[in-house]
């Protein structure tokens, strides 16, 4: 179990980093797909089958296909090499600070006493259970999410519509 988790976590992290540092947008998008699959497997390990399936169907399936289509339609060129070169001192200072923070966090995390978890209910992670909590305890967040999505859609229309008036 442990080994599988760490393998998946490493895959997710590395593919996440690759998404950011790849120059070619199509490759970036494909690494994002890999990242989504690794995450889905982690959800599965955590007994959340429904969320894992949704992750693959919605994110890795639908959204990434749209992403790839948009990238291909836009026909992005490779950006020219170069751009803003950081000062060497800035690089060293920034990376050493980041390393120090990460070291501190890792040190703290490994010395941490993890509080005992609660035992899972037998139907944990099933579709019924997700639906049940969505429509009882999480009713208000569920409804408010619809406002959030609506706002995002309206925004996309306002910013992208062709010239009016």
């Amino acid at each position: 179990m442990q080994i599988i988790f760490f393998l998946l976590a490493a895959t997710a992290l590395i593919s996440g980093i690759m998404v950011v540092i790849q120059v070619n947008p199509v490759r970036s998008a494909l690494f994002l797909v890999l990242n989504f699959f690794a995450l889905a497997a982690i959800y599965l390990l955590a007994n959340a089958q429904f969320i894992a399936a949704i992750q693959i169907i919605v994110y890795a399936g639908a959204i990434m296909v749209l992403f790839l289509f948009v990238i291909m339609l836009l026909n992005l060129r490779q950006p020219e090499e170069g751009g803003a070169h950081r000062h060497l001192g800035q690089k060293i200072f920034g990376s050493s600070l980041a390393t120090a923070v990460i070291a501190l966090v890792i040190y703290k995390v490994f010395r941490m006493i993890v509080p005992p978890g609660k035992p899972l209910t037998p139907d944990f992670g099933s579709t019924e259970m997700v639906a049940k909590s969505l429509f009882t305890d999480y009713l208000l967040p569920f409804e408010m999410t619809s406002i959030l999505l609506l706002v995002a859609v309206v925004g996309a229309v306002i910013l992208a519509r062709s010239k009016v008036e």
Binding site: P115, T136, Y138, I147, I158
Partner: protein
Amino acid sequence: MSIDIPTICLTNIGPLITLSVAGLLLLLFDAFSGKAMKKAHFHQFSLVAVVIALLQTVWLWNRQTTDFSRMIYVDNFSFFFNVIFLLGTGISIILSVHYLENYRKNYGEYYALMLFAAVGMILMAAGGNLVIIFLGVEILSIPIYILSGLFREDLKSNEAALKYLLLGAFSSAFLLFGIAMLYGGTGTFYLADLAAFIKKSGMNGFTYVGMGLLIVGFGFKVSMAPFHMWTPDVYEGAPTSITAFMSVGTKAAAFAAFLRVFLEVFPTVRMEWDLLLWVAAVATMTVGNVTALAQTNIKRMLAYSSIAHAGYILVGLIAGNQLGATGILYYLLAYTIMNLGAFGVVIAVARKKDNYLNIYDYAGLGFQYPGLAAVMSVFLFSLVGMPPTAGFLGKFYLFSAAVEAGYIWLVIIAVINSLISVYYYLRITVIMYMQPAEADLGPVAMTPVVNATLIISALAVLLIGIFPGSIFQLAMNSVKIFGS
């Protein structure tokens, strides 16, 4: 499988429902109504919605309860903040109308998005669960990202929207990661359960990391010092009416969540976050005030001034006592009115051909438009914190709370900072009254409604400064939920 439906009472979220439904209706109205009659009525419709929501809020006064299976608190704290948010939204809508017509941007979506943003603010102040608070942050932020980029042909507006979107998404990730850490450490999202857990079994590594990340997330939204970089550019580039709206709305909402989470969940580990916030507050005040000295663009100046004001409010949070929390509520109300007023004058003076955003454009305003200059002076005096304005008493409460809690040096630094701020606020007054106009300002378009709003705001700043009793009592009542 039997499902227990929790009991819910819709009047408890009355303002949320009114604002959301009004936003939806506005979108439909905009899409399906005829061209001729619709333009004029969007703002009236949204103002009516805001007024109804305000009445519904008043109806909720003195209810001490939770609803939607403890997802939201219905208490006087959220009551007070609802009043601030709705007041801010209402005044911003009034100030927007003429400005938008000037730029031919009087869309229905503009008002709908403002109402949705108000929904987000209310959720942030009322949230009893970290999920609700996060949703509130997003519902507030996304409309503001969009509205900042409303002037699509203006490069600065594009820059503002993009910068705010990228940095805002980054800060949301910090906030979310912090929430995940807190969940990992305690196994709950509910603020009350988090508080009980931490009281019983103390902090662990997860909760410490979570707390730190929450400070980063909220600090970004209130423009606290190491995370304030976005503020001047976004404030300068966004349409002025949106700058006004977000300068008061986002800040008040973020402080509401900040205050509730830290005073409810982490009161036992105050020493830990106090030191962190002490440094941040000093940096915020100093960076804001010192940089504002050098600004000649009035929107940038007000942006740095809003950073400085975040620093003053942090002083009250560090004090962490009843008086400090009361002071924050009082100050946020005063800040909402005075800052919106100042932006209202900036909007009135701005014109399409030339924005008149340089502070020297205000030369001679005192002779050409004595009324406008007079109200601007009242707002500026209040921002400085001169008696007898509301700004003075707000600062007085905040600083005396810090003295009571023993943070003498912090108060000394804060007072020095207030003195620095006198220079850049009063410089505008001096320019308005003592310098002759270089060029004729031309007609300043003023509608009776905007005039009335500015005058009432100025009077309100003076009135709650001279007779603070009732507002102070109200704020005092609202923070009783925090023990200690």
